[in-house]
Symmetry: C2
Subunit: 386 residues, 2 copies
C-alpha cells in the first residue's frame, strides 16, 4: 500500500427535504451569491426550497453557467462578486456549476489574472478562497465532496483542471428527490461518469490495497445494479439515493488513497469534449476501452480482478480475463445507452488523434499511472477508439 494523506472536511447533509437545513449552516452575516446553470432549478422546485432556506440572508444570484463551465461566463460572475461584496457562494447545480463556483471562490481572492489559477496552476490552500456550499441537483462528478474543478475557455479551446485543500465545500446538501426531474440521458451520463471515476483510480496495478479495491468494486457493482432501475423504471427514492451516494463516493478521495491513479482517460476525454462538444461522461466511455486494451500488459492483473469479481469471469488466462473484462465494460456502457466509439458521435473524427498528440506534446504531458504514456501512445489510443 502506498503512503497517503486523507482529509475531507465537507459536511454532507443527505436526504429528502434536507435543503432547509442550509439555514443552520450558512452564517447569518454573509452576503451570498447563489450560482446556477440553465434555470431548471426554477421549474423543479429546488430554487424555492433554497430561497426559503436562505430567508433573512442578503442574497444575489447568477444563473447561466453552462455545462463545461466557461471561463468567459465565470468572469461575469466574478464581476458580480466584486461589485456586490459577496463573501459566501452557494452553488445550486451539478458538477459544472459547482466546479465554476470553486474557481470563483479562488478567483475572488486572487490578485492577478484569474486565468493564472488554472494555467500555472495555483494550488488553493485554506484561507485562499471564499467559503462556499452546494446543493447538488445532478449527481455525477463528485465535485460536491472534493476540492478539484475543471474549467473550459472557449476562446482558446482549453479545458484545464486545478484545486487544493482550500476548495472543499463547507456543506453539500444531497437530496435524492432532485433526481426525479433529471432527463434519462443525463442520468446515464452520471452513471458513466461515476463509473469512469472509479476506473481511473482502480485500473492500474495491484498494491495490496485490498480494502480500497473492494470499496471501488462496491461502487461499480452498485452502479451496475441500479443502472437499469434508474433508466427503465419509475423514480424510486432509494435507488436514486444509492445513485447519488455512489457518485459522491466515487470521487471524494477515499478510494484513491494508498493506490496509484491513472486519469489518462480524462485527459484524452477532455480533448474530445473540446473538439466535438461530446458530453464529458461519454468521452470517457469512448476512450476507456481502447486505453485499457492499449495498456493491457501493465493493467492485466487489475483488469482480470475486475472481470472476476465484478463480472464473475473465472475461466481463461489472465490476459483472456482482462480482455473479457473490457468487453463487459463496453457492454455495460451500451446497456445504459452510451456508444463507445467516436465515429458513433461524429463523422469528422479524422485528424482528431493527431491534434490531441500535438496538444499533449506541446504540454509535455506523459500520462498514465507510470507517467510513461507518450503523446504518440495517446494518438494510437484515440485512433483505436474511432
Amino acid at each position: 500500500m502506498l503512503n497517503f494523506e486523507f482529509k475531507n472536511p465537507t459536511k454532507i447533509i443527505f436526504g429528502k427535504g434536507e435543503i432547509q437545513k442550509l439555514n443552520n449552516e450558512i452564517p447569518k452575516d454573509v452576503r451570498v451569491l447563489i450560482l446556477y446553470g440553465g434555470g431548471s432549478i426554477k421549474t423543479n422546485g429546488i430554487y424555492e426550497q433554497v430561497l426559503s432556506a436562505l430567508e433573512g440572508l442578503q442574497i444575489e444570484e447568477f444563473g447561466g453557467i453552462p455545462a463545461n463551465p466557461e471561463y468567459e461566463v465565470l468572469l461575469e460572475a466574478l464581476k458580480v462578486i466584486k461589485e456586490k461584496n459577496i463573501n459566501y457562494l452557494l452553488a445550486v447545480g451539478g458538477g459544472s456549476v459547482i466546479d465554476g463556483t470553486k474557481f470563483l471562490a479562488a478567483a475572488a481572492m486572487y490578485e492577478g489574472d484569474p486565468w493564472e489559477i488554472l494555467k500555472k496552476p495555483v494550488r488553493i490552500f485554506e484561507g485562499m478562497a471564499l467559503p462556499f456550499s452546494t446543493v447538488l441537483t445532478l449527481p455525477a462528478t463528485g465535485s460536491e465532496m472534493n476540492s478539484g474543478y475543471v474549467i473550459s475557455r472557449r476562446g482558446t479551446g482549453e479545458k484545464l483542471s486545478s484545486g487544493g485543500p482550500g476548495l472543499f465545500p463547507q456543506v453539500s446538501v444531497l437530496d435524492p428527490e432532485v433526481v426525479r426531474s433529471i432527463p434519462k440521458k443525463q442520468i446515464a451520463n452520471g452513471i458513466a461518469d461515476a463509473y469512469s471515476h472509479v476506473l481511473e483510480q482502480y485500473m492500474t496495478y495491484p498494491t495490496s490495497a485490498t480494502l480500497q479495491d473492494r470499496f471501488s468494486e462496491s461502487i461499480m457493482q452498485t452502479l451496475q445494479e441500479i443502472a437499469p432501475k434508474m433508466l427503465n423504471e419509475d423514480f424510486d427514492y432509494d435507488v436514486a439515493g444509492n445513485f447519488m451516494w455512489c457518485c459522491t463516493m466515487a470521487l471524494n478521495g477515499l478510494i484513491s488513497k494508498g493506490v496509484p491513479t491513472d486519469w489518462a482517460v480524462h485527459a484524452m476525454g477532455h480533448e474530445l469534449t473540446a473538439q466535438f462538444g461530446i458530453d464529458h461522461a461519454r468521452t470517457l466511455a469512448i476512450i476507456a476501452p481502447s486505453h485499457y486494451r492499449f495498456n493491457i500488459e501493465s493493467k492485466k492483473e487489475k483488469l482480470a480482478q475486475y472481470a472476476e469479481r465484478i463480472w464473475g469471469i473465472t475461466e481463461g488466462s489472465e490476459e483472456e480475463k482482462a480482455e473479457k473484462g473490457i468487453q463487459k465494460m463496453e457492454t455495460f456502457f451500451h446497456s445504459i445507452g452510451i456508444p463507445t466509439r467516436l465515429s458513433e458521435y461524429t463523422t469528422a473524427y479524422e485528424g482528431c488523434a493527431e491534434r490531441i498528440e500535438k496538444t499533449f506534446a506541446e504540454r509535455n504531458w506523459m500520462l498514465g499511472e507510470y507517467r510513461k504514456l507518450s503523446p504518440q501512445d495517446v494518438k494510437e489510443i484515440v485512433q483505436m477508439s474511432y
Copy 2:
C-alpha cells in the same frame, strides 16, 4: 435509505515513516501533553520518533493510562494539564489512550464536575475541547478517526460513553510498522473489535442502502482475508496496512450513514468487561452470536445477506441461511483464537445476566435498532452466551 449527516474532518497521515510529519501539523506555539499507556512506546521506537517530530515544542508527558481508560487515572492527567497550562494533547497509543485523551480534551475546558460529561452526558461541540492529535499504536477501535469515547470508573464499576463533533482528532498518524511489535493476542482482539463494529452497523434490517452494505461487507471480507496472515505469518507491511485501515474505516462514521445501527452487543459487552475484566473485543464475540440468534426474526434478512455474500451460503431458507451465517461468524472468531462462550473465560458467570438486567433496568435502557430490547431480553441473551 435513511437521511443522514456526515462530517469527518480528521486528517489521516498513513504510511511508513510518517510520524515525522507531525512536525508540520502541530502549531509551534502550543504546550503539548503527550499521553500514553503502559510504556511499550518506549521500547518499540515510537516514543523516539514522536519526540523527534515534536522537536522545538514545549512538551510534557503523562504515561500509565490503562486499558479501559480509568476515570481516576485520567483525573491525575487533568491535574497536569491545568498545572502546566497545556493547550494541545497528543495521544500516542491505542483506543484506550485516545479515548482517555478525548475525555481530557473535553474535561480541560469543562467547568464543573468532569464526571458530568459522561453521566449527563455532555455533547461536545467545536470549541468545547482542547485540540488534539493521535499516533495510533494499536489498530482496533477506530477512535483515531471518530469523535466518540468510552471511560470506566473503577470506584462505581461504571463504563460510559460520550462524544460530539468537537472531539475529532485534528491529525492521526497511522504507520502500519507499529503493528510489528503488537502481541498476537492483541491483534486478534483488534480484528474482533473492528469486525464487531461493522456488525453493529450492518446486522439490523434492510434499508436499500446498497453501497453502505457493500462497504461493510468489504471491511469484513478484508478482515477475514488478512486474519490468518496477521496471526500465523511473519509481519507483512501491506497486510498490516490493510488491518490498520480496516479498523479505522469500521468506525469512522461512513458505514453507518443512511442505515439503522444496533450497538446492543457493545452495551452488554461493556458489562462483561466491568464484571469480569474480559478484554473488550472478546466480550463482543461472546455476546454477538446469542444476540443475533435471539433477534433472528428481525435480523434474518441481513443475516442471510451476510451468509450469502460473505460466506457463499446460497442453499436453504432465509432462516437457515441466517443461522448458518451465525455459525460461520462463530467459526471466524474461533479461528482467530477467540472463544465465544462466557464460561470459557470465567467459572463465576452465574448471576451475571441478572446483574446486567438490573443495571439496564435502573438506566431505563431499551436496546437494539428498534429500541425494543428490554432488560429482560438482555438477561436472556446473556444467559444464552454462558
